[in-house]
Amino acid sequence: MSKAAEAIKNVEKISPKNMPLVEPLSRGHRACQGCGEVLALRQVLKAVGKQVIACSATGCMEIISSPYPQTAWEVPWIHVAFENVAAVASGVEAGRKALIRKGRIQDDNTKVMAFAGDGATADIGLQALSGAMERGHDFVYVCLDNEAYMNTGIQRSSSTPYGAMTTTSPPGAKSKGQSTWKKNMPLIAAAHGIPYVATASPAFHLDLMNKARKAAAVPGPAYLHIYSPCPTGWRCGPDTAIEASRLVVQTRVFPLFEVIDGRYVLTRDITKPKPVADYLKSQRRFAHLKDEDIEFIQKRVDEEWERLLNLVKATNPEAK
């Protein structure tokens, strides 16, 4: 599969000068004040435009955007259930493919997109996502990762970071909060050998939007994993989402990279990382952590960064 690099070459880059004016996700939705997830969603849709069929998993973004008889979606949109958005998108794509081949609808370059939270992606929907990626459907899967099940009231998911407090990983005499490390979904997606995988953060909005455009341009499955702060669930002020989105990258906790045709590319090298403590201390969900816990996490972050650099070196020797 060397199709992705080819397709990406022709993608028109978004810069502050040609920021798209379209808003496929309209104002007036019901997300909490300062929600980073809906911001990420809006950025993706602005970048990709209106030639889209959107499929949503159950979760915050679905609930806040579609209480009948209102909808925030100005593109065709379908929600079916929690764990099956990749399968629904597979069906939409297959249906359109058959109808185009039979001459019953026109090929209008419509992109099928799936949107899901981290729970819907890394936990209950992982099988459907894996199946859809393996079958090679031409669609973009966007995981909006707010690091817990927010729609049901902040329970831990397998994407919740180590040490974080949630309502089902509460800290206590015998608990430090979440007891396991965050599942590495982007690498799981990349292991399927799909043409395009990328991580993004809404504080780096041009990077995010350009990655969304690239994901939409590649034929076959593309996977976008977007860090999406949730002030409500993280027990932070509504003005903290962008700051968290920046710090998480600057501390190397959430590296920005792409995997294009299997080649890892670092899209933002962090040569002088800020201490992980800066990031953790900015959020009340980590407030219970002691210095030794933060050191433990720092060590893991350093290791993971090394691992990523090794993947870049191994797959993309001319990178640096």
Binding site: Y68, W77, A89, S90, G95, A98, D108, G131
Partner: protein
């Protein structure tokens, strides 16, 4: 001219889907449904059927992909059974609530545990309330014909609901029968291409599957229930049209020697054929019995059923599924409730037989009828029995 061929009933289903010119098939294998999807994938692979075959990783995804493709405007088919159907359960309600005309053939099979690959109706009786139109086929010809009519009914804009055609696993799926194959041009004339009432299209955006707040949920459910209730005349209409064109007439309730009968068997699915033979034998022995066979299960054809059973005859209802804790099988429970609501006083005996593939013979039918008649005569409480339990 239509040709008569010897064909396994499963393959007849696949051929019906080919004749219907389906656009998308999303499916996952499970015995005894496998031959249906295997043959469909062959038809797609050979180019005889121009469709997308989506070999999903589970039944949950099969139904989810069907929802997606149907919402995109494609004629969509799947098939499943037992555990697979149970895995789809969550999405079955959503498919009908979104009013998507998906067609599914269910090869009826017992549910675990213990695991059993053989036939009964336990799988589909757990799906009574999914708001799909549901038929029960009696033989291979019926399976083929009903599958073709299922698309026509499902896609009728006065209906727009998904449809299940039930066929007994192994007893029908794996049996070779003489089947009259309609010609492609005849089916094309009966079944024009699918024109969706609504679809996902960027040129005309709609939102499907929105949040139902308490102010609208009840009304949304009522709209679904009404759609199912109102589908009845259109089902009959399309079956009549089918008869006019193909010469085979299907009715929601089928009667066999009921006019002068003094007691009636009530059955569903392939056992109706055994019941018919039993009726013949009992009549030859001087006993005036008849058979009422339920073909349309959802929406239940109440008036046809009441007309079929006449006045005050004892009914012997055969269930191929349990409804634990309820002291009757699911079919008998429903029929009793229906009769009670209509002020009828029929004596309803209920036997659960043929679970997990156990044979139900003519001798079984005869002994069930004998028990029914003697209990009815003595006015004893209505029997409920799991037939042939070895203790």
């Amino acid at each position: 001219m239509a040709q008569r061929v010897g064909l396994e009933c499963s393959l007849a289903v696949s051929e019906a889907v080919k004749l219907a010119n389906a656009d998308v098939i999303a499916a996952y294998p499970i015995t005894p449904q496998t031959h249906i999807v295997e043959h469909l994938s062959e038809l797609v692979a050979s180019g005889e059927l121009d469709a997308e075959f989506v070999p999903v990783e589970s039944e949950h995804s099969a139904m989810s992909a069907c929802v997606g493709s149907s919402a995109a405007g494609a004629r969509t088919f799947t098939s499943s059974s037992s555990q697979g159907l149970a895995l789809m359960h969550e999405i079955l309600y959503i498919a009908s609530a979104l009013r998507l005309p998906i067609v599914m053939v269910v090869a009826n099979r017992a549910l675990s545990g213990p695991i059993s690959i053989w036939n009964d109706h336990g799988d589909i009786m757990s799906e009574r309330d999914i708001n799909w139109v549901q038929f029960f086929a009696e033989n291979g010809q019926e399976v083929l014909d009903l599958t073709i009519t299922a698309f026509k009914i499902a896609e009728d804009h006065r209906v727009t609901l998904p449809v299940i055609v039930n066929m007994d696993g192994f007893i029908l799926t794996h049996v070779i029968e003489p089947i009259e194959m309609p010609e492609q041009n005849e089916v094309d004339a009966y079944l024009p291409p699918f024109v969706p009432a609504q679809k996902l299209d960027p040129a005309k955006p709609i939102s499907m599957g929105m949040v139902g707040v308490p102010e609208v949920y009840t009304e949304a459910r009522k709209a679904c229930v009404d759609a199912l209730e109102k589908s009845y005349p259109f089902i009959v209409e399309h079956w009549n049209d089918f008869a006019a064109q193909f010469g085979r007439h299907y009715k929601p309730i089928e009667c066999y020697k009921t006019d002068d009968a003094e007691a009636l068997f009530v059955t569903m699915g392939s056992l109706s054929e055994t019941a018919m033979t039993t009726v013949d034998e009992l009549r030859a022995a001087g006993q005036k019995v008849g058979l009422v066979h339920i073909r349309l299960w959802r929406p239940f054809p109440t008036d046809d059923f009441l007309a079929a059973i006449g006045e005050s005859k004892p009914l012997m209802v055969l269930d191929r599924a349990l409804s634990p804790g309820c002291n009757a099988g699911p079919v008998a429970t429903e029929l009793r409730a229906l009769l009670y609501a209509k002020g009828k006083t029929h004596y309803v005996a209920n036997f659960v037989a043929g679970l997990g593939g156990r044979d139900v013979t003519r001798a079984d039918f005869k002994s069930m009828m004998a028990k029914t008649l003697s209990a009815a005569k003595s006015g004893a409480p209505m029997p409920y029995e799991m037939v042939g339990v070895k203790e």
